[in-house]
Every structure is written in C-alpha cells, then in structure tokens.
Symmetry: C2
Subunit: 201 residues, 2 copies
C-alpha cells in the first residue's frame, strides 16, 4: 500500500480514486458476494489490474473495512445533533429515522456487504472501529426510544422496539430501489408509525 501522496494535486486525486474504488467495490461485492469475488474479478470490474488495488488498500479485507466504515461514521454526527437539539421525543425519533433510512438508501450496497460479513466484524481485532460505530449509533437510538417510553408514546417495550427498528431499517437495503414505490422519507415515516402510539389513522 502506497502512502498518501504529499503533492496536493496527487493527494486529491488519490482520495478521489480511493473513494471511488470503495464505492464501486461495494456494488460488486453486494451483487456477487465478498467471499465469492476474487481480487482479480473485482479489479476487472473496476477496470484495473489486480495489483493496483494494493496501491490504495493493504489488502482485500482493508477494502472491506473501508466499505463498512461508511455505514456508521457519516451517520453519527447528524444523529447526535438530533438528540442534542432536544425537541419533543416523537419529532426526534422521526428525524432520526429519516436520517437513518436516507443513509441506508444511499449506501444500500455497503449495507448488503456488511450483512454478508457481520460475523467477521464481530470477532476481528481490526474491526474494533466498525463495532464501536455501530454501538454508538445503537446507544443514540436507545436514548431516543427511552425518551419516548418515558412519555408513554411507545407502543412496544423499548428493547423490542429497538430490535424491530434495527431489523426493518437494515433490511431496507435488500429491497429499496431509488425510483421505487416509496421514497426514503415515506419509508422512515412508516417505520416511525410502527413503534409510536400516535400518528395512525
């Protein structure tokens, strides 16, 4: 793996290329499977030689980690901001769901890859950061649900609501299509309805 170039023009180019590889590799892995896609196949799909990948990543697994990193890291800050804004609990949950579902919709390939390799994530040492990100997000979700439960606005036990939401939102990556019947906002609002007592007609 080459170090990031010091010269500014090449540094920027390096970042762009690397990010592009992550993005497009996510698609390839999501469709063909991470384990089932050889580095040679992947490189061919990306229009690169096999060895070129090692210019940007230490190895195949490092690329996988980069893919999974995009799932939580960019979501944490907006989520925290929503909780800190301290609006009424119902609006907070709806906002959180919109941000979350929107992010899943944008990164559904990444999430489909994560789903394939979740068991690897749970064990490896180099996966600590990924685990941490997921744990942090789940804590924020728990906090939002706890506030709702306090006000009696939750239709379920908070622990069950948490698992239900994690399940339905993550599963969204398996079926969501950009120009499908539902927009990410409609999906998020629908999911909100499932756990809230109010807002159903």
């Amino acid at each position: 793996m080459a170090p990031r170039p010091t010269r500014p023009a090449l540094g920027a180019r390096y970042d762009r290329r690397r990010a592009g590889v992550v993005e497009r590799a996510a698609r390839v892995f999501a469709e063909r499977g991470y384990a089932e896609t050889s580095v040679a196949e992947l490189a061919e799909q990306l229009g690169l030689a096999a060895g070129a990948l090692y210019h940007y990543f230490e190895g195949k697994e490092a690329l996988l980690i980069a893919i999974c990193d995009e799932l939580t890291v960019p979501l944490l800050e907006p989520a925290r901001a929503l909780l800190d804004a301290d609006r009424d609990p119902e609006a907070t949950l709806r906002g959180l769901l919109r941000a979350w579902v929107g992010h899943v919709a944008e990164h559904r390939d990444h999430l489909r890859v994560f789903t394939q390799v979740r068991h690897v994530v749970d064990h490896g040492e180099e996966w600590r950061a990924v685990r941490r990100g997921r744990k942090d997000f789940e804590r924020l979700l728990d906090e939002a649900l706890a506030r709702l439960a306090e006000g009696g606005q939750l239709a379920l036990d908070p622990g069950l609501a948490r698992s239900a939401l994690l399940g339905m939102v993550n599963h969204t990556a398996q079926w969501y299509r950009p120009r499908g019947r539902f927009s990410p906002e409609e999906i998020a609002d629908g999911y909100a309805t499932t756990v809230l007592v109010a807002g159903r007609d």
Copy 2:
C-alpha cells in the same frame, strides 16, 4: 456422495446422521462464517474426517442448501393451514407471527447462515427450490396483510408492513437467546402490535 442405504436400519441411521450434520454445521457456519470455514475445520468441529462429509453431501454448497431448506419448508404447511382456517384477519396474523418467530427462534443458526449467503441464493440454478420456498411464504404473508388492509386494521401500507415484518423477524435471529428477556411468543405479539392499529395501550 453415497446413495441412501437400502437396508432399513442403516437408512434410518443415515437420515439421523445427515440431519445431525446439517444442524451442527449451521451452528458452526453461523459463528465462523460459511466462506471462512474450510471443510477441514468444519469436519474437525463435527468430529469427522474431511472426506466423511462427502458421504452425505455432494459438496460444501449442497450442505449449505440443506441448511437453507430447513428455513421455509417446515414453515409453509402450518402457515397455509392458518390462512385456510380463515379466522378473523388479526388472529390470523398473530398466529402467523407466532409460528414464524417460533421457527426463526428454533433455527436462528440456519437463518444467520442464510443471511450471509443470500446473494448466492438469488443467482444459482440449484437454489431454485430455496427461492421458491421463500416466495411462497411471502405470498402467504401478503395474503394475511391484504385481509387486514381491507378491514382497515393495518397501521401502514401493506407493502411497507410486509417489508417491515420481514426485516424485524429475520433480524430476530441475530439477537434472540433462548433464555433471554423475551419469549418467542412475546416477540411475535410485539411485532404484531407494530403493524396493527388496535391492541396498543
């Protein structure tokens, strides 16, 4: 792969051993990953020699198919019976969810393996039966939801409710523990609450 023995005593033994391998392999694959577990490793975990697996299965993938087959096949008949009983739609959905969640709880290892390899299932020829089973079950779920929607008893669009339920129930395999906070029945009832208008206080 050896043919099933013709002699009755050995035939029964063959069935038992084969089923035992499927069951225990599901656990090993769920924890270590299907692709990440070599046949040698698996055999060691099962207390067998590597070659012995080929006595019962054509290969590693045939074993995987056998694991995934147990996910829908035994669920279809009870589900169909529930729909045919033609009780009120709400009771039908609750019954369906109890059967479904119960089955997931019993076969959570199998489901965790399926989740890893779903992309393989979607493409291969030899996976047709597995795909068919899943499609059949989803049709039954759709029917149960359509009946509810007709009576205005559904809190969400039926299509969204379907995806939400598929997500939360399948995700249950990732966190359910036999002596955990919730019984399969409590989980199923909680999930029912998420999509129904009634039954929340």
